[in-house]
Amino acid sequence: MSSASPQAAVPVFNWFKYASPQTFFPLAGALAPWFAAIAAVLCVAGLYIGFFVAPTDAQQGESYRIIFIHVPAAWMSMLIYLAMAFWAGVGLAFNTRLSGMMATALAPTGAWFTFIALWTGALWGKPTWGTWWVWDARLTSELLLLFLYFGFMALQAAIDDPRRADKAGAVLALVGVINIPIIYFSVQWWNTLHQGSSVSLKSAPTMAMTMLTGMLVMVFAAWAYAIAAALWRVRCIILERERRSDWVRAYLGTAR
């Protein structure tokens, strides 16, 4: 183990310092307003670009503009599930309390984004496809994703002991994350009508630059919003679960 010795000489940033709810609580409190502000600014900017600057689509007219909400929501719905499963895995591996709290805090935000993606998708589908809903691969897998979120939240709600709820939820989230690609591909074989992805890293974007900018700005707004919402929610969860500890009593005592 000679490789370990030079590392020990350098002062290492202790990543685990903020793994304790007590130290994370003020950090989350400090970061959350910033992310909320970023989300608000980016959201206003993104919607402005989307609604006033971006050109009208040649085929879909004005109705395509819902893309600026639909696509970020759909991306976030999947990404948050991955983040949730990541925290769940960390929680199982390192047995940290905060990871489970993070997973719990992310779930409602993820479910909302999934719901918004489905809702805006229905609103978008009506003028372009002529129906609110089709049994198409992406729609169906998004719907199943919503059910997975519901299952996660229902399972955690049904267990009174928070530690057991965290771990049971973690197992479920990890099982779900293995299943998501299987579900996705199986429904893809089953039926597909959804337009192909308009954004790809490999080829040149097929949409106008301003559309892309507006969409990406909205994506970052959604990111910032999700982080802010999760941080605020995790603060509440920390307070609720650690209410018997001294530092929470002191915090609540001074706040009052």
């Binding site: 199943l144 299952g151 399972l155 049904a158 530690r163 049971a168 479920l172 099982v175 299943n179 579900i183």
Partner: protein, 213 residues
């Protein structure tokens, strides 16, 4: 083996899920009407959904009795590795709860006017697909062990995960109806079952340990 004996002694449980399967599959023609063409089109899907529900209803029995009388706790601290115990219990559960469904499914397919080769594929697809249902369901059953509202919760957890099996299973039967080969779908079903066999017992064992904390 012990689980099988127990299941044999409580035959009524097995019959309940088989009869549930038959009733659900027979209710659809009553609700939809007796037109042969329509029934032929929805037949594979209806039989699969009914099998899914019947298999899910039986899941709550997988660990419940052993949990109630403490046998499960003994297995947890026993010498045999827990995932192996889970596999054994799932196999016994599959034989008791799902094998009868596989055997009776062709009969239900007849009700829907499916041709003989489609009936064969239906039974084969069920035989290949239901093990993964039992395995995935074992995770759900272990997670909801001893919780209030366990049955509905179990359905909420497990049914979205069942979707791929349902899709592939019905596609296999429909492929025969369309004159195509069902083999790719059957192979995929088998692949799902094997994948579930390699992962689900460990997840279920972890879930059991969590339930006992």
């Amino acid at each position: 083996m012990r689980d099988l004996t127990l299941a044999w002694r409580r035959r009524s449980d097995v019959f309940t899920s088989v009869i549930f399967f038959v009733i659900v599959a027979s209710l659809f023609p009553l609700g939809i009407g007796p037109e042969g063409k329509l029934l032929l089109a929805i037949g594979p899907g209806v039989v699969w959904v009914a099998a899914l529900l019947a298999s899910m209803l039986a899941l709550s029995r997988l660990f419940a009795a052993d949990y109630a009388d403490g046998t499960l706790e003994q297995m947890l601290i026993g010498a045999a590795p827990l995932p192996v115990v889970v596999i054994a219990k799932v196999i016994a559960h599959w034989i008791a709860a799902n094998l009868p469904l596989v055997l009776i499914a062709p009969l239900l397919g007849l009700q829907y006017g499916l041709p003989a080769d489609a009936l064969l594929v239906l039974a084969l697809a069920l035989a290949l697909g239901t093990p993964s249902l039992s395995l995935i369901g074992a995770i759900g059953a272990a997670l909801t062990l001893g919780l209030r509202g366990g049955g509905v919760l179990l359905a909420l957890l497990v049914l979205p995960l069942y979707a791929p099996v349902l899709i592939l299973g019905s596609l296999a039967v429909e492929a025969v109806g369309a004159g195509l080969s069902a083999q790719p779908y059957l192979l995929l079903l088998a692949a799902l079952s094997v994948a579930a066999l390699s992962l689900a017992p460990w997840a279920a064992a972890a879930a059991l340990r969590i339930s006992y904390e």
